[in-house]
Amino acid sequence: MSRIGVFVCHCGLNIAKTVRVSELAEFAATLPDVVVARDYKFMCSTPGQEMIQHDIKKYNLDRVIVTACSPLMHENTFRKVIENAGLNQYLLTIVNIREQVSWVTSDIEEGTAKSKALLNGAVYRARLLAPLTSRVIDVNPDVMVIGAGIAGIQAALELANTGKKVYLVEKNSTIGGHMAQFDKTFPTLDCSACILTPKMDNVLQHKNISMLTYCEVTEVKGYVGNFDITIKQKARYVDHSKCNACLACTEKCPGKGISEWDESLVKRKAIYIPFPQAVPQKPIIDKNSCTYFLKGKCRLCEKVCEQKAIDFEQQDSFINVKVGAVIVATGYDLMDTKPLVQYGYGKYPGVYNALEVERLFNSAGPTAGKVTQRDGKEPQSIAILHCIGSRDKNYHEHCSRVCCMYSLKFAHLFKEKTSADVYQFYIDMRAAGKGYEEFYNRLLEENVKFIRGKGARVTQSTEEPGRLIVEAEDTITSKFMKLPVDMVVLSPAIVPRADYKDIARLFNLSTDKQGFFMERHPKIAPLSTMSEGIFIAGVCQGPKDIPDTVAQALGAAAEALTIVVKDKMELEATTAMVNPASCCGCQNCVRVCPYGAPAFNYEKRVSEINEALCKGCGLCASVCPSSAIIARHFTNEQVLAEMEGLMEF
C-alpha cells in the first residue's frame, strides 16, 4: 500500500480556466492509496512547494503526484522539492494537464474529464514507482587521442595545455597525417609544413603528451570516465630509447622499400624515417624490405649504430592505458581509383591521384618540388578531373568537399611551376568556405580552363604516343569533347580509413552508409558519439577541410574536458537492468543496443547491462521476449499500470 499525495496546480488561470481543479482534487481523494489531495494556485511557487513538503511529513507520504504543467517544464523543480523533504526524487509523478489539457481545449467538461483520466493513470503508475539512486563513479583525468593528424595533434595540444595528460596514439611511425604530405594549403596558399611542423614539435616536447607512434589500439574495455585501453606497440626493431636520431643507419641500408609517404612514387630504405621532418626523428625497420629479414644476412645498420639501438629480436608489445575520455581522429583514405578502369589510373603513367600530386609539389617530395611526370618530362597540358568516385551513385554518394578547392590549388601551382595548359573538369564548383569563392575567382583570372562536365574516360592517344585523351561532355555547350593532355590528375573520393570497421567495433561507434563515424546528433551533438565519453573529430566523421578539422578538434577537446575535468561523475539512474532468472539468453538486447551496454555473459548464459553505458531508452526491454529486462522508471509493470489507469475512466 502506498501513501500518495496529489497536488493540483491552477497555474493561475492557465489550467483553472478549462479544468475544474477543485473537482479534480476531490476526485483524486477518492482514489485508492491517495491520502491527501489539494489544489493550489501556483504549485511551483515557494508556498506551493512548502505545502508539498509539509504534507509529505504530515501524512508520511511515500509518493507525490503533481498535477500541473509538462514534466519537461518542472519535473526537476518538484524532484528537488520532494528530495528536500526526504523522498527519493523518482517517487514523483507529474501529470501534464496544462500543455496536454487546459491549453488544447476550450471545453471545461472535456478538460476536467481528461484530467481525471490522466491523473488516474498517474496514481496507477505512482504505486509502482521505485526509488532510484544514481551511481557516482570516479573519473580518470587522462584522455586518449587516436590518430595524430592535424585533428589529433590539435586536440592533444589543447588538452595538454589545460594540464591534462594525453596519450596520442598514431599507427604510423610519425605523427603529422595527411597534412604533412601537402605542400601548400588552400585558399591562402601558405606552406603546410610551416604551420604543421611547429605543432608536431610541440607534441614531442609537451610534458603532458605521451606520444605513442607505430601503435594500434587492440582492446577497449570500460566506459565513460574509466576506459581501459590496450595498445599494441608494433615492433620497430629500433630501440627508440637508445636511438639518438643520427640516421647513419638509413644511409648505409641497402634495402629498398616503397615510400608510403611519397605515395609510392619513389623508393626508400628498409630502415627509414618517412620524411625529414618526421616526429619522432627515429627510424624503424620495415621487415618486408629489410635484407636481413628477407635473406637472413646484412645487419649493416646494426654495425653502424653506435648507440646499439638496433634490435632485430624486438617483438610487438602491449601497453595498457586508463583514460577518462577518448577522441577518435583517424582521418581518411583516398578512394582506390584503380577499379574505375575508365580513368586508366595504374595503367597509364600519366594519370595521377591527388595525393601523388601533392607530393610532386612538395620540395621534400620525390621530385624536390619540380613538376615532372613519371617519365621525367614536364607536362605541357594537364587535366584535373573532379568528383572521381564521389557524388556518384555507383561509388560514393557523398561530396568529398575539399576536391574543388585543392584542384584549384593544383591548377595554381601547375601554373606557377610549369607552363602547361591546365583544364578543370568539374560537375559543380563548390567554394563555400571563407575566402574560397575569392580563390576561385582568382583562378578564373589565371588562365585556367574550366570545363563544366565530368571527365568520362581517359584513353591513350593513338596519334601521339604517351599522350592521354580526356573524354567529357561540356555541359554548357552540350558538346562532347576529346582533349589531348600529358597529365591527368584525379580527385578521388575521400573515404574512411580501410580499418574503420575495426575502430568502430573497438569504440562501439556507429558509421554512416559510407563508413564515416556517426555523431550523436548532426546538429546539436556533432562531436559526441553514441558511446558516452568517446568523441570524434576531423575527416573520420566526414570530409572536411583543415579549418573545419581544427575547429572540430578544439571542440572535441573541450567535450572531453567536460568529462575529465571532474573527479567524479553521476550516471543516469533510469537505466536498464537484467533479471538473470528470467533471461533466456537470446541476446536480442546485445544486438539492438546502440551503446553496447548489454553484454552476454557466456559463462552464466545471461545478458548483463553495464549501467555506465546505458542511456535508458528501453529498447532492450521491449525486444526482450522473456521480459527479463527492467527498464527502470519505465518498467513493464509501470507502463501497463499507467495504461490501465488512463483507460479506466
Binding site: 537470446c586 544486438r591 522473456s626
Partner: protein, 287 residues
C-alpha cells in the same frame, strides 16, 4: 528397401560412426515409441542406443527443439528435415548453438504424415521445401520434386475473408485454447524460460484459459516468432485442440518476408529481422 528404411539404416550407420569416433556425444533422431505408429524424438548417447533409432512417416518431430537442452559446447548430431534445418540455422543465428558443435544429418522430404490425421505434411502446414537448407551429410537422395506450391498459397482463403469473419474464425480458435502450452514447447524457436506469459512481474495476462489471456498469449507469441518462425508446423501438430497456429505463423512470416526481404532460417549470416533495421526501411510498412 523403402526410402524410409534406407534413411533409417543411414541414420543408424552415421550415428554409430559419430558416436564411435567420439565426434558427438549425442545423436538427436527418432526412436521407437510404444508401438510402431508412435515413434518418439530420441537422443542416442551410446552405440547400444542406436538400435532404437527408427525412421518412418510419423517421425515428423523437429529435433531442433531439443538442441538448447544440452549444455553449450556439447557436440551434437541432429537429424533434420527441410524445415528443421531452417530451425537449426535460426538457432545458430541467435547463438543458441554453434555451427561447429553440430553434425547435421539431412533428410530429404519423404512424405511425412501428420499422425493425427494421417495426411501427408506438405506446404499447407509447413514450408513445403524438399531438402534441408544446411547439412553435413544427406541421408537420402536429394529430392527434385516439382516446385511445390508456395507455402503461403494456403493463406489465400483466409486473406480474402472478410475482416469480421476472420476475427470470428480466430476468436473461436483461440477460445479453444486450454493453455497447455504444447505449441511453445514443441516450437524450436520458443526457448525462453520463463516464457513471458508465465511471469507475475509483469503479469501480461491471466492464467485462466479464457479469451483475454489466450489472445495475449497467442498474439504476443506470433510477434515473438515474427521473422523467426521457420514454418515446421509442429505447434499445430502438438496442439491437442487443433488450433491452426501454423496459418497465423505463415501469415506473419509472409509479411516479414515482404517487408524485410528475408526469410527465417535460410542463412546463418542473417540477423533476426526484428532486432535489425535498414535505414531504407519504408514508412509504407506502417500503413
Amino acid at each position: 528397401m523403402t526410402e524410409f528404411k534406407k534413411i533409417e539404416e543411414n541414420l543408424k550407420t552415421e550415428a554409430t560412426r559419430l558416436l564411435k569416433e567420439g565426434l558427438v556425444t549425442v545423436v538427436l533422431a527418432y526412436g521407437k515409441g510404444f508401438d510402431e505408429n508412435h515413434p518418439m524424438p530420441y537422443a542416442a548417447k551410446t552405440i547400444a542406443d542406436v538400435e532404437n533409432i527408427v525412421f518412418n512417416e510419423y517421425c515428423n518431430y523437429n529435433m531442433a527443439r531439443y538442441l538448447v537442452r544440452y549444455p553449450q559446447g556439447t557436440k551434437i548430431a541432429i537429424a533434420v528435415k527441410a524445415a528443421d534445418s531452417r530451425a537449426v540455422i535460426q538457432l545458430i543465428q541467435e547463438e543458441k548453438v554453434k555451427r561447429e558443435n553440430l553434425v547435421i544429418l539431412g533428410i530429404p522430404v519423404q512424405g511425412m504424415k501428420n499422425p493425427k490425421t494421417g495426411e501427408i505434411i506438405d506446404s499447407k502446414t509447413t514450408c513445403g521445401m524438399y531438402n534441408p537448407v544446411l547439412y553435413d551429410l544427406l541421408l537420402g537422395e536429394e529430392v527434385h520434386g516439382a516446385k511445390s506450391a508456395s507455402p503461403y498459397d494456403v493463406l489465400a482463403e483466409y486473406e480474402k475473408m472478410d475482416k469480421e469473419a476472420r476475427w470470428e474464425f480466430w476468436k473461436k480458435e483461440f477460445d479453444k485454447c486450454i493453455r497447455c502450452y504444447a505449441c511453445r514447447k514443441a516450437c524450436p524457436m520458443c526457448y525462453c524460460d520463463p516464457c513471458f506469459i508465465d511471469q507475475s512481474k509483469p503479469k501480461w495476462a491471466d492464467k485462466a484459459p479464457q479469451s483475454p489471456g489466450n489472445m495475449m498469449y497467442h498474439l504476443t507469441r506470433f510477434h515473438h516468432l515474427a521473422g523467426r518462425c521457420i514454418d515446421c508446423g509442429e505447434c499445430s501438430r502438438a496442439c491437442p485442440v487443433d488450433i491452426p497456429l501454423y496459418l497465423f505463423h505463415k501469415k506473419v512470416a509472409k509479411e516479414c518476408e515482404e517487408m524485410f526481404n528475408q526469410a527465417a532460417g535460410m542463412s546463418i549470416e542473417d540477423k533476426p529481422v526484428l532486432v535489425d533495421f535498414r535505414v531504407e526501411d519504408s514508412d509504407k510498412i506502417l500503413e
